[in-house]
């Protein structure tokens, strides 16, 4: 069956971008969808073979320039990958998604030429992955003032503390640690980012257990105990670490919106097909009930409007004119719309929606992450409201 989302994308993006989307879609249909249930029921993370296959397809290097061994694509391509993969699994989609939008991106945006040369080619192939080390047990929404510290010792820095919620930690080669370096500085100018190898002495990783969302995605906690790094491990400028993090998050939020829309696209197709197949009362399809149609129509409207908006913002991102508020707003809206609607989507399918193999419950759980990840929606409203309060 043709996907509803495909009919919208056809008119929103040029032919070669559509061809790329279709290639990733077909990859998802053949290499991910048939295995998902097994991965879920055996509680396994994305298998290495799948990561390798995504690497072979160049997904980890999408928006990395060809000069650094990447695919030379742009943010639209990244978002198209998100839409295509999240249709089946956000957890699979976030693996290359975070590796790029949170891992490689800060390096691309703020790295020195030497740092780019040293890491981008391996990142582009998926042979290396960077973790985005912003969140900590005691610093979630309030991330500007990390409790992880870095203290200068001669020409080296010594890092201590704990990062958590670190997506891709299981496969990571390095973590970009956001650490407090100047406690008495002006707010937003107190921290610095460091590129720390996961194999460095004093770095300990542990998978966070019991997570019932994005189940195939690795989420780690990373302990740093007297970890020493050289001065040139600094990413961006000293005491300008928070800027590195927030600049990165702009693009990341567009990607999170693509995950929400990918899940919504799946739910829409699932429901509109099921509503015509499921016969109740006089053996006629439940799709004839207006209350069922209402939900399907609302999903369709949310999908088409969300896609149009998202692809527009991707163009602004490429042009360098996307504002922080715009990136925050689309993340907030797509995540809450899709996660509100998926509850109704499950309801119009009835009891069958409880089953893992029906797929909706997976997207229901995963959509929660889109509300909280890369900035909790409620906290992001603090940001969104700022220009509205200026007379």
């Amino acid at each position: 069956m043709a996907r509803r989302i495909d009919s919208y994308l056809k008119d929103l993006i040029p032919a070669e971008k559509l061809a790329f989307y279709e290639a990733v879609r077909d990859f998802g249909d053949s290499e991910i969808a048939p295995h998902l249930l097994h991965w879920e029921r055996s509680h396994s993370l994305v298998p290495d073979s799948c990561i390798q296959a995504m690497g072979d397809m160049g997904l980890f290097g999408l928006p990395i320039a060809e000069a650094y061994g990447g695919q030379g694509g742009d943010h639209t391509d990244l978002v198209l990958m998100g839409l295509a993969l999240a249709y089946h699994s956000q957890a699979v989609a976030i693996t290359p998604g975070a590796a790029i939008s949170l891992g490689a991106k800060p390096l691309q945006l703020c790295g020195t030429e030497a740092q780019k040369q040293a890491h981008l080619p391996a990142l582009a192939k998926g042979e290396r992955m960077f973790v985005f080390g912003l969140s900590e047990p005691g610093r979630g929404s309030d991330a500007a003032n990390p409790q992880v510290t870095a203290v200068k010792k001669g020409d080296r820095w010594v890092l201590n503390g704990e990062k958590c919620w670190s997506t891709n930690a299981r496969w990571a080669s390095h973590v970009v640690v956001h650490a407090l370096t100047n406690p008495t500085g002006q707010n937003g100018k107190r921290s610095t980012c460091f590129i720390v190898p996961m194999g460095q002495k004093g770095v300990f990783y542990q998978e966070m257990q019991g997570k019932k969302v994005w189940e195939q995605s690795s989420t780690g906690s990373i302990m740093l105990e007297n970890v020493e790094v050289p001065h040139d491990a600094i990413l961006g400028a000293e005491n300008d670490g928070f800027k590195v993090m927030v600049t990165t998050l702009n693009g990341g939020r567009l990607f999170i919106a693509s995950l929400a829309l990918g899940s919504l696209a799946f739910a829409l197709d699932k429901c509109r097909v099921y509503a015509e197949e499921r016969l109740q009362f006089d053996d006629k399809p439940i799709g004839r009930f207006q209350r069922v149609q209402d939900v399907i129509v609302d999903m369709d409207i949310a999908l088409e409007s969300g896609l149009t908006w998202l692809l527009h913002l991707c163009r602004l991102y490429e042009a360098g004119t996307l504002s922080r508020e715009q990136a925050a707003k689309i993340k907030v809206e797509c995540s809450r719309r899709a996660s509100d609607l998926i509850v109704l989507a499950m309801e119009i399918c009835g009891g069958v929606a409880c089953f893992d193999e029906f797929g909706l419950i997976r997207h229901h759980n995963d959509l929660f992450v889109t509300r909280v990840g890369e900035g909790s929606n409620f906290a992001l409203k603090d940001l969104i409201v700022r220009p509205l309060r200026q007379a």
Partner: protein, 249 residues
């Protein structure tokens, strides 16, 4: 080695086929087309041979209407060097005509090896590879499941009834590819962008005389409803009797 890969677009395998008003063809409106799955093995094998030799060329060719450009573009994106559309106004079903058009064109280009899918999954005619080889005077090995190249000659392995046959084969040859030959790659973004700059030739197909004509198409009769013979262990004898009746046992 210059390799030609013959590809065909076919309706997606999950298409609900409808017969057109003429009663002889299928309704194509609303049908999604895709690259014939066996042709993907042929294309992949060609790309691997080129990569192994680090020389030569891979040209993909199809006989069909203009919309087949999409499948040719996909083949370019996966790594083919050049695409040729031998255009026709109609949907092509006659293996004789397609083979004549392909042979006429292949004779005009350097070609040491022709790779095809073992059959097209829409019409299932299974006649093009041998027909084409005959016209070109090339050797022909069909339904190949393993192909190794050494010193300019091929060893091809194919499953035959109850056994595996190993065939030695010199070029020029036509080889038709079976499932299991390889794992086809997906197009990547770089390949898709590079494809736009690759040569794409479109010329009318030189179709020979028709070899056959479809006089009528009909859908298979709808499947009869299943039969419930009973419930629980007590129903086993009735089930066995029913299976014997249908000769399933």
């Amino acid at each position: 080695m210059d390799i030609v890969v013959c590809i065909k677009r076919v309706p997606a395998t999950d298409t609900a086929i409808k017969i057109a008003a003429d009663g002889k063809s299928i309704e194509t409106a609303g049908v999604t087309f895709e690259l014939n799955a066996y042709d993907e093995f042929a294309l992949e094998q060609a790309l691997r041979i080129k990569e192994q030799l680090n020389a030569g060329s891979v040209t993909v060719v199809t006989v069909g209407p203009k919309d087949c450009k999409k499948q040719l573009d996909d083949a370019l994106a996966r790594g083919a060097d050049k695409a040729v559309l031998l255009s026709t106004t109609d949907w092509m079903y006659d293996g004789m005509q397609v083979a004549s058009a392909l042979a006429a064109w292949i004779k005009t280009v350097p070609c040491h090896l022709v790779l095809c899918g073992r059959q097209a999954v829409d019409s299932d005619n299974n006649q093009l590879p041998a027909n084409l080889a005959g016209r070109l005077g090339f050797a022909c090995v069909t339904e190949v499941g393993k192909l190794t190249l050494a010193d300019g000659a091929f060893t091809a392995e194919r499953d035959i009834e109850g056994a595996r046959e190993v065939v030695a084969c010199k070029t020029p040859a036509v080889i038709s590819c079976q499932k299991g030959l390889n794992e086809p790659r997906y197009a990547n973004l770089k390949g898709i962008m590079a494809a736009k700059k690759k040569p794409f030739v479109e010329q009318p197909a030189q179709l020979g005389a028709r070899g056959m004509e479809i006089v009528a198409l009909s859908l298979p009769a709808p499947r009869a409803a299943g039969k419930i013979v009973g419930n629980g262990a007590g129903a086993v004898p009735a089930l066995i009797a029913a299976l014997r009746e249908t000769k399933a046992l």
